[in-house]
Amino acid sequence: MRKIGKQEIEDMAIGAALLGTGGGGDPYIGKLMALQAIEEYGEVILLDPEEVPDDALVVPSSMMGAPTVMLEKAPSGEEAIRAFNQLEEYLGEKIYGTFPIEAGGVNSMLPFALAARLGIPVIDADGMGRAFPELQMVTFYLDGISATPAIIADEKGNTALLSTIDNVWTERIARSATIQMGGSVMCAMYSMTAKDLKKSGITNILKLEEEIGKSIRLAKINNVNPIEKILETVNGFELFKGKVIDIDRKTESGFAKGVATFEGLEQNKGENLKLRFQNEHLIAQTNEKVLCMTPDLIAVLDSETGLPITTEGIRYGSRCVVIGIPCHPKWRTEKGIATVGPNYFGYDMAYTPVEELVKKGVTQ
């Protein structure tokens, strides 16, 4: 058990941007919500999953809709509470604690804002270990945990209870309702017992996030190379060092898709790297070989500060280090790869773990 104050939130927000692997929405607004809630209601208790009784009811707190809308019409703070209260009423049981559905991006911070106000703990686990764009792309889905019953709530006081036959229907109905409710809502879905969370979630991800942010912050203070510290912290690999020479973006059915091209510097001089993304970075490949592919994590870091760069922030001339991080073993199962592997995103390649790719690569 540990108390989380403002500094810890600042550090986690940086780690959340890195695990967002280019997407996930800017954690900035979520960070401010968490900071304000801590300022008004006090520090938040963070529990290791092992500290939570097996039969406790736990529910992630997340947002759904357009991040652009959330940046203009910020939440009231009440909608997440209302969603939790209604779910408690429906299930006839108190919610013991909350946790992020995805550790990457804006959703990583929202449970802290809620937990401070409700006085419940945050549990150190999530359902992705990174960021992904779709509702079923959570490790809970792999173990057959249902998204519903789900509550979505807006700031006006409207709530909707969804009880659906499968997660595709949840997604379909929730998206339509979200638009009517103003484009951005707070959700309480994927309720489960702590036992399920321990089994199906990715644990100690917030601790990792905080360590990432802290090592970047301390590297700056101590004037050491932040990239090495980050790689140590996440067990990652430096894939490529280069500068952006081309960025080709298009918006397709609501997703920011595109390719960024990097020209190699130093040890990569003479090589080019192509980074393919759809909200999040999906594939990193040179002319000869693939270096990393989804669901392994690909992050682009500023070569001087080590700070993560989002796909919107990539600009011609930026000096970057592209790193690869092994994803959680749960994603490396057959169902995991089918759900979030390269084929699902339309790439005709067989998933190979990053640690094997950096050794030999896959010839195209």
């Binding site: 357009a66 940046l71 009231s76 001339g317």
Partner: protein, 526 residues
């Protein structure tokens, strides 16, 4: 009758001034030191150019001022207005109250009177809830005698500004015409906190802008000049005194913009990279169709995150006064410390005790400033290495600003541009125009008048062509209303950005039109 215009640009180190004739030729120019109160420096510079030029004073018809008054006030947290912050959007947005994320000292100064009112709009223009007018009346009565400036921000006001306008009416009704009102829809785009911060900062520098304007007009009068006064704004166009007093925040980045615009005018190039080498730093910016390329990232002013458009610049610690430290015969550091405006006393070639970048170029025979004998003892091999690194620093900055690998023209301006060679990596050619030392003051003098619109259109309803056409017409109308000669007005920038995840193909359209200042025979003052 020949007419003349004055252009003044106040920078951190120098206040530059020029007098141009109606063909925009430089009649006289000067560089004076910027003074702590800013105003004295402006008067000195103006007096110098007017007395040197010896033209009939009644023929000086326009005076353009690009100034850092407002920027300084925000950065120093001094002379700020008594501000009230009114956000319309509750029950939404309560989870992030106004000024969260702004440095504490600024939050204390500006956050004394903060109000959250029910109202605001959805992304598609529907009301979130009805505007709480009674609450606004209560607030207005509570604020009597307490504040002199109010910042009003309503959720999705770039889509519908109805609630901001109604709130402004109520405040005016209760508090009278003397209360300054800043409306966020007039200031920034989508992104509540950033737009709100910009609006609050705007509200806080209304008095500063008023004093700057009045001081400038008085100084002109003291010189016997009855010119129409304009202020330079961030986008390189002019605003009237009346407008500048309402939207002073638009002056905060006019300095770098003026130097880019001046470089474009002097070199007759519309698309190029501009390197402005000052005493302490070099700013590298990009000209696109004669205007600065704007930054797409959030810009911090005085530590507060804002979202209005600023020129996209890379600033590096290399100027004419940058200090070189030699550690042994192989290693050295360049800056970022600088002797700045004290170069004429500190630099070795001027008899001082500090090795600067200027000394390096003099010692290598690339410039003949000061006394070359004072640097003849230095190791030429090492100096060569230092020089190569200096040039590399600039070349890297140029490369960072390019959008493709193709070589582009590079224009060098600013007093420190003697540091740089005739060829640069990545440059198709290097241009060093005449009067490049006062490019910024020229940029201020030649500025055009503009109009801009930014709106969200639902393209499924009106179609893209009709949306763009409507935005263009509105921008042109605004430019003409601001004082542009209708025949000279052109669309200088169009941007349409689809908003992800929204239905109906919602797109944000931004159009800017600009034209030459309309010649007016009668002289208007504010």
């Amino acid at each position: 009758m020949a007419t003349y215009r004055i252009g003044i640009d106040v920078g951190g180190t120098h206040t530059d001034a020029v007098l141009l004739n109606d063909k925009n030729e430089v009649i006289s120019e000067t560089k004076a030191s910027t003074t702590e109160d800013v105003a004295t420096g402006i008067y000195h510079a103006m007096h110098k150019i007017v007395s040197h030029a010896n033209v009939p004073k009644e023929n000086i018809k326009y005076a353009m001022l690009g100034t850092t008054h407002c920027t300084n006030a925000i950065v120093e947290r001094k002379r700020l207005n008594q501000v009230a912050v009114v956000r319309i959007g509750a029950p939404a947005t309560l989870a992030v109250k106004p000024l969260i994320g702004v440095p504490n000292d600024l939050r204390e100064l500006l956050g004394e009177h903060v109000f959250l009112v029910r109202g605001g709009h959805e992304f598609d223009g529907r009301e979130i809830v009805e505007l709480d007018e009674n609450h606004l009346y209560e607030i207005a009565n509570e604020l009597k005698e307490k504040v002199d400036s109010i910042a009003i921000t309503s959720v999705f006001s770039p889509v519908s500004k109805a609630h901001e306008e109604r709130a402004a009416e109520i405040f005016q009704e209760v508090l009278g015409d003397s209360i300054a009102l800043s409306l966020s829809s007039e200031i920034g785009s989508v992104g509540l906190l950033e737009r709100e911060n910009a609006t609050i900062l705007n509200a806080s520098v209304i008095n500063v802008a008023k004093m700057a304007a009045e001081g400038f007009i008085d100084a002109l009068k003291n010189e016997g000049i009855q010119a129409k006064v304009f202020f330079g704004q961030n986008d390189g166009t002019l605003m009237s005194v009346k407008y500048a007093m309402k939207y002073p925040i638009f002056t905060v980045a006019c300095g770098p913009t003026n130097s880019l615009r001046g470089a474009s005018y002097l070199s007759e190039l519309s698309d190029a990279i501009v390197v402005d080498v000052g005493g302490t730093t070099s700013d590298v910016g990009v000209l696109v169709q004669s205007f600065p390329r704007e930054s797409s990232l959030a810009v911090e002013i005085g530590g507060a995150r804002t979202n209005f458009r600023m020129p996209d610049l890379v600033s590096i610690g290399l100027g004419g006064g940058t200090i070189i430290k030699i550690e042994d015969e192989h290693s050295f550091t360049i800056g970022p410390e600088s002797v700045g405006y004290r170069l004429p006393e500190k630099g070795l070639v001027f008899g001082g005790d500090t090795l600067t970048t200027t000394d390096v170029v003099v010692a290598l025979g690339k410039s003949n400033l000061g006394d070359v004998k004072k640097v003849s003892h230095l190791d030429k091999n090492l100096l060569d290495k230092i020089y190569v690194r200096m040039v590399e620093m600039v070349e890297e900055a140029i490369d960072r600003m390019k959008t493709s690998a193709d070589p582009v023209p590079v224009i060098l301006v600013g007093g420190g541009s003697i540091l740089l060679p005739e060829t640069l990596k990545g440059a198709s050619h290097v241009i060093r125009p005449n009067h490049s030392g006062v490019a910024n003051a020229i940029g201020s003098a030649i500025a055009q008048v503009s109009g801009q619109v930014e709106k969200i259109f639902v393209l499924d309803e009106i179609g893209r062509a009709a949306a763009l056409q409507s935005a263009k017409e509105q921008a042109i109308k605004e430019a003409v209303e601001a004082g542009a000669e209708p025949s000279s007005v052109e669309i200088v920038d169009i941007e349409d950005v689809p908003l992800a995840y929204l239905p109906g193909n919602a797109t944000r359209v931004r159009v800017k039109a600009a034209g030459d200042l309309k010649y007016q025979s009668e002289v208007a003052t504010h």
